[in-house]
């Protein structure tokens, strides 16, 4: 008998399976479950974008693309990025097309991190940063963000965690799971500390287009001095409802993009070809789709925030992504208990805050990437549940 466990890489043995799936798996076995747990758009990819993918398949465009992605796509990407965030990149050297933002995050971490390097990660946050850091034998250093700060990273918290070993700050805003965003003034305060301490930043802005309010998303790379020390990751999954096409990208200093491309070349070769063509269409003609979907999310967001606050599951006004992160303190339950009881007693699935870091205790993540009808029914059940446990 082979003891596979002992033969595995040390780091892969340490990595914990994601806790988001736990209740989803139970829920999928149950009848009449209404879920508010999914982390992807409920919209299908806009029709004209799908159509372009189909058209290219019809034309037999089924081969590999250049490693970095089609030049036409990189040009459109750089144009789009400049138009939306006011920062220009060279499509030839400063842009890499990846298999989702996920791959770009992995490439960036592996490109930068030596064993023992410290990586600063705000939590609660998306679940991939810690395991990817661990696989690179880096040391994840967790910085807790708080509801009172709208889950923003504060310069004080950042300063308190910087050591001589700190190499990289991961900046995950707009944030999954809290919905927190960093506006320009908040980014400026962080940028000052980053520059003072000569750190690099991986800015995961995958939810950038889902920023609510008049100001719109502010990219970290638009803050003076940050372009040269930041790799910005974005993608098509959330902005264009294109999760299944698996397409994202990284923009950054050409030396870093070149190194990431080297890795990408060996592990991936190139991102999916039909997806890249569809993405060109999305970038050229998709602004209206983004605006439409954002408006729909925004209406749901207002509804769900208002109802949760009314029933005493208090939450601040989340200004980005499609999640709310209410406090469940009032029920006296832990995050895990809350989710388990809510699932078994009211057949509603949400995700415990602890899936996104230990400091998520006392909170749950609720996704509003669902129809109004679906949301209102789930809220009815949640309210009945909360009344029962009110102490």
């Amino acid at each position: 008998m082979i003891d596979y466990q002992s033969r595995m890489n040390r780091e892969i043995q340490i990595i914990k399976p994601s806790a988001i799936r736990k209740f989803f798996d139970i829920a999928s076995e149950m009848e009449d479950v209404i879920s508010l747990s999914i982390g992807e758009p409920d919209f299908s990819t806009p029709w004209h974008i799908r159509q372009e993918g189909i058209r290219q398949l019809d034309k037999g465009r089924t081969h590999y693309s250049p490693n970095r992605g089609f030049s036409e796509l990189r040009q459109e990407l750089c144009r789009w990025f400049d138009r939306h965030y006011g920062v220009s990149y060279d499509p030839g050297t400063e842009c890499l097309v990846t298999v989702g933002g996920s791959e770009a995050i992995d490439l960036c971490i592996r490109t930068l991190i030596n064993p023992g390097d410290e990586v600063l990660i705000p939590e609660p946050s998306y679940v991939c940063y810690v395991p990817m850091t661990e696989m690179a034998e880096g040391v994840p250093v967790i910085m807790e963000t708080k509801a009172k700060d709208h889950f923003r990273l504060t310069p004080e918290e950042l300063l308190a965690h910087i050591t001589p070993k700190t190499k990289l700050l991961i900046l995950p805003y707009p944030n999954n799971p809290t919905g927190g965003v960093m506006r320009r003034e908040h980014l400026e305060a962080i940028a000052k500390v980053v520059i003072d301490h000569d750190l690099l930043v991986l800015s995961d802005e995958i939810y950038g287009e889902l920023t609510y309010g008049d100001a719109g998303h502010c990219s970290m790379v638009s803050i003076p001095g940050m372009r040269e020390r930041t790799v910005v990751v974005n993608g098509f999954s959330k902005a264009f409802a294109m999760t299944g096409w698996r397409l994202g990208y990284a923009m950054g200093p050409k030396e870093l993009i070149a190194a990431m491309t080297k890795l990408h070349q060996y592990v991936i070769m190139s991102a999916p070809t039909p997806s890249q063509y569809a993405a060109v269409e999305a970038l050229r003609h998709g602004d209206g789709d983004i605006a439409y979907m954002r408006e729909q999310y925004d209406m749901r967001r207002r509804l769900i925030v208002s109802e949760l606050n009314r029933m005493g599951l208090t939450c601040f006004d989340p200004e980005g992504a499609f999640y709310v992160f209410p406090s469940i303190q009032k029920t006296g339950l832990s995050s895990d208990e809350f989710c388990e009881k809510l699932l078994y007693e009211e057949h509603v699935a949400v995700v415990p805050g602890t899936a996104f870091g230990a400091c998520g205790e006392g909170f749950v993540r609720i996704s509003y990437s669902y129809s109004i009808k679906h949301i209102t029914e789930a809220l009815r059940r949640i309210e009945r549940f909360v009344k029962k446990y009110e102490s």
Partner: protein, 158 residues
């Protein structure tokens, strides 16, 4: 406040409070807007969408194409008004193309519809011909699928 119409179009049972929250308006503003729409006849009514097949209620429907001779003074209007007044008539449209009026009709049975066409529609002065198409099955009505809820195929990832 056109957004109010859009939201009600999707779900007429949303409360004024809910609509107000979603549109970032006050409840009073929303209530006033809806009142105004109703008074002006822009919102003409609210009804449930019933799937009669599921309810097990016997009901037949047909789409009837009418060719008619317009009258000198009133054109199609007088004939239309006469047809509208039958309670069996669900909708009535003046059409471009190879016929003039499209009538949808509901009754308990197909036989009832046949009788309705023969006894009441066809004899109307000016009706030249009728073509009756019975509806066999409703897949979608008023923008709503009657095939049951779509299954959410999204998978939790990580």
């Amino acid at each position: 406040m056109e957004k109010v119409l859009q939201l009600l179009q999707e779900n007429a049972r949303l409360s004024n409070e809910q609509i107000a929250v979603m549109l970032n308006r006050s409840t009073e503003e929303v209530a006033a807007a809806i009142d105004d729409y109703e008074k002006k006849g822009i919102i003409c009514g609210y009804k449930p969408l019933i799937n009669y097949e599921k309810a097990g209620i016997e009901r037949a429907s047909a789409l009837i194409e009418l060719r008619v001779t317009p009258r000198k003074d009133t054109g199609f209007d007088a004939i239309a008004e006469q047809i509208m007044s039958f309670e069996e008539v669900e909708s009535l449209y003046l059409m471009s193309g190879s016929y003039d009026l499209a009538v949808t009709v509901n009754a308990r049975t197909m036989q009832d519809i046949a009788v309705f066409v023969a006894r009441r529609l066809a004899p109307i002065d000016g009706v030249l011909s009728t073509a009756t198409h019975f509806i066999l099955h409703r897949y979608k009505d008023a923008s709503v699928s009657l095939q049951g809820e779509e299954i959410d195929e999204r998978e939790e990832q990580v």
